[in-house]
Subunit: 498 residues, 2 copies
């Protein structure tokens, strides 16, 4: 396959000659969506929305399965391009491809059963006093055209054919992907796979579209277009909040599902630290440095009560870090931001362990800092995510201070407890309600990286972890984001199409 | 009971002496919440949130049932005060009281069964390859303190102990009611009932609080307070949008569930008009003038295809209107706004029927206008709600134009079809997908006023009918607005409190 850097608009590839710009990948020139092109994709998606929404579920099942097959058929090319563009290891890209096709097939399986619609029926009660009850049937209907922003850190599972796209197509919404400039070739290959599947299954041409565009105006133009009905986004707090604000300020506001920033705290309780301080320190560093720390669920902070056990944990973490080398980060810009974030932490904190310059070109090296609970509490800057493998070890004076730190945290995707029952039960019981208010997922004796794709998964959380704490972007419940209830009162079956 | 016009803050009545103002009810002076009082209610609600959230469902069942009992015990006083303040007929206030206690008992019944939490469990798969699956348990957790704005037009069912309060308490959220200045005495009596129930059941004092305040700053102060987690509102587009914007612009945005404006179109299909034009015209006027037209679901527009049948319908409507006299509207200000809205319509439209001055003091008289589909299409002002019994009869040139009008409508709470199957099937099938995109509830051969409180009800719709088309403010599903999912991964049962 030859990279073209074109948009996919209404079933046709375009933008070969006009308004191109350098991508974040060296040497690649990519089309940049114009206002007219943004208008064209939004209008085409709206034009085809009714037909897509009206497809039987079996057609959307076929589409999702066909997309997975077309991705599998291009598997080697996608892996090679993904590795070249993102710097991620091949095994990771292969794994992420499997997760991506798995998600597509999971949503296909989900919508085979109409249970996902949550249908309800209150039959008529014609003889009820003082007034009869009419027949009421509740079902769900897709929201309309959905814009999905590809994520830099998951070129497959959270990008072109990722969870947002799969769940929105499953719901019956046309999808417009804004490709991420960090992996335009991967985006193009996956878009080709989806386009082939759309043709194979005979869906309307604007069922799936994709445009490139690095300028903020492209994203802004998409989310403010009157024909767009909802947005899925995974990315930075700054960019995500700007898009959220645009969605809320529209004449007709629309849902914006943004998964933004999180420091994913790990709380080490005393008995667990006493029993396995070294294993916890090592496990934390393994999770912190996985994928150069570029996961949404990267555990940026680990806390415990100061003392010899805590020091053993910190020492083991420092030792593990010494063996962790540089990794290629997603883009030079991300590596540069990582370096700047680490520099700001260095001004405030004691270094626990480092192995060399943290950011050179695209090479990011992990680093860990140490501070105490009192300092952490009064330094809000430490509560924000630094994207990359920078971690902070926080020694709290006592259990009360650890509780106070938990209370002071912003919204999180995850919160982790390292505990040994029953000795840690009491302190864990004090932490649980605090963490439940602050996080979308609470896990024990594991690490938050590696998000299971399953019906009971919740990937989201109170702001700024996500812009809508009621929604998940991973797992089957993600389809609910693109559906709204409609009640049919005394409507003849001939009009319900069921 | 003697009216005091005080706030209920953290279990105590206050504001007897400070910062009072005239209510919209003549002769009543009501406390006006200060910044310090707003801060006090929000902080008290947050302080008690964890305890309220942790109550077993059985305690919240007892609370909801006790509130219903305390309202019943004050039934005559509530009815007398409600009638005096709102000008609504006694039968209506008695009926609304029954609906209100019915809603409280419905939510009590709902949460007896944990099914409302939508719990999910993916058991661990320790032997799965390549990686084991951890145990995942999903449940729902209340959002936090909820602010509820009393509605002018439903002094009971959408106010102090209305559907928003009942569903939020059922979910485990403390509630702060902002009393509506049009019925402060009713608000006080119902708040007394809730306060008595809170004490009886032994819930924390800030489980329920109520403040008065007519100035926009009071509502703004409540929804922008950092300790407030969500808002329920029923009212005008202008006030609702202003509050929505404040919620979205907060450092931590929160959900704002606003039910705003709707014209609730009624589409008369040809066979139905041929068969029963007169009954449709009469039925429409009965629905239009019910409660002086002050229902969210008031059918402000009726459409059909021009011709003799349509003219018979219009003539029957005009005749029915001639028999409909003046009714007392909720407040002088609402009546004045009705008069102004009608005056603006009069400048553009032909009068179909009227019986005298439309707005004098608090006396509102119904009026109907007639126009054609082409004019309606090019006059966006006709697409907005005039709160009160003003209706527009729209004669469309043909079925295509009726479809075009449907396509041009904003979001609606309801859309109604008058149809006779099978002759109207074809045109109804063309209308259905359009209306499904635009309305939360579609009904056939009835009128939209009189919203059934039931599991399959949807009372909401695309903007501006509501600010969140995924949510309903009537029926059991309303509880979902105050809950967010939390996933517990490998968390020991001892910490799950189940």
């Amino acid at each position: 396959m030859t990279f073209t850097g074109q948009h996919l608009i209404d079933g046709a590839w375009s933008g070969a000659d006009t308004g191109r710009a350098e991508a974040e990948v060296e040497g690649l020139s990519v089309a940049q969506a114009t206002e007219a092109e943004i208008d064209a994709v939004a209008r085409a998606a709206r034009r085809d929305f009714r037909a897509v929404a009206a497809t039987p579920a079996s057609t959307r099942v076929a589409l999702l399965d066909a997309i997975a097959e077309e991705i599998d058929a291009r598997g080697d090319a996608i892996t090679a391009t993904g590795v070249a563009e993102t710097g991620l290891p091949e095994a990771r890209v292969v794994g992420e491809r499997g997760r991506t096709t798995g998600q597509l097939r999971m949503f296909a399986e989900l919508i085979r059963d109409p249970g996902y619609l949550g249908n309800r029926h209150d039959p008529a009660l014609p003889d009820r006093q003082p007034l009869p009850r009419p027949d009421l049937k509740l079902t769900k209907h897709p929201l309309g055209p959905v814009v999905v922003f590809g994520a830099s850190n998951f070129p497959l599972a959270f990008s072109t054919a990722g969870g947002d796209t799969a769940s929105a197509l499953a719901a019956g919404c046309p999808v417009i992907v804004k490709g991420h400039p960090a992996h335009p070739g991967t985006t193009e290959l996956v878009a080709q796979a989806i386009a082939a599947a759309v043709v194979r299954v005979g869906m309307p041409p604007a069922t799936f579209q994709m445009v490139h565009g690095a300028a903020p105006a492209v994203g802004a133009g998409l989310v403010t277009h009157p024909e767009v009905a909802a947005v899925g986004f995974t990315g930075s707090l700054g960019a995500g909040r700007a898009l959220f604000d645009l969605c809320a300020a529209r004449p007709v506001p629309i849902p914006f599902y943004g998964e933004l920033g999180s420091i994913n705290p790990v709380f080490c309780l005393p008995a667990a630290l006493a029993a396995r301080a070294e294993a916890i320190g090592q496990g934390w560093v393994a999770s912190l440095t996985m994928g150069a720390g570029q996961f949404c669920t990267n555990p940026g902070v680990i806390l415990g009560i100061a003392g010899p056990d805590f020091d053993r944990m910190a020492a083991a973490a420092a030792e593990a870090l010494a063996g962790a080398g540089a990794q290629t980060m997603l883009t030079p810009r991300i590596c540069e931001a990582y370096g700047a974030g680490v520099a700001a932490l260095r001004d405030r904190l004691e270094v626990l362990g480092e192995t060399g310059p943290v950011a050179e070109g695209r090479a990011g090296r992990p680093i860990a800092f140490r501070t105490d609970g009192a300092s952490f509490l009064v330094t809000p800057e430490l509560h924000h995510e630094v994207f990359g493998a920078a971690g902070i070890v926080v020694a709290c004076a006592d259990a009360d201070q650890m509780l106070a730190v938990a209370e002071a945290l912003e919204g999180q995707l995850t919160a982790t407890l390292q505990l040994d029952m029953p000795d840690d039960t009491q302190i864990a019981q004090r932490l649980m309600p605090v963490l439940t208010e602050r996080a979308g997922r609470i896990l024990c004796n594991g690490f938050p990286t590696g998000v299971e794709v399953a019906p009971a998964m919740m990937h989201g959380g109170p702001y700024p972890a996500s812009t809508d704490s009621r929604a998940t972007s991973v797992g089957t419940m993600a389809i609910d984001r693109w559906l709204r209830p409609v009640c049919y009162q005394s409507v003849p079956d001939a009009l319900l199409g069921t």
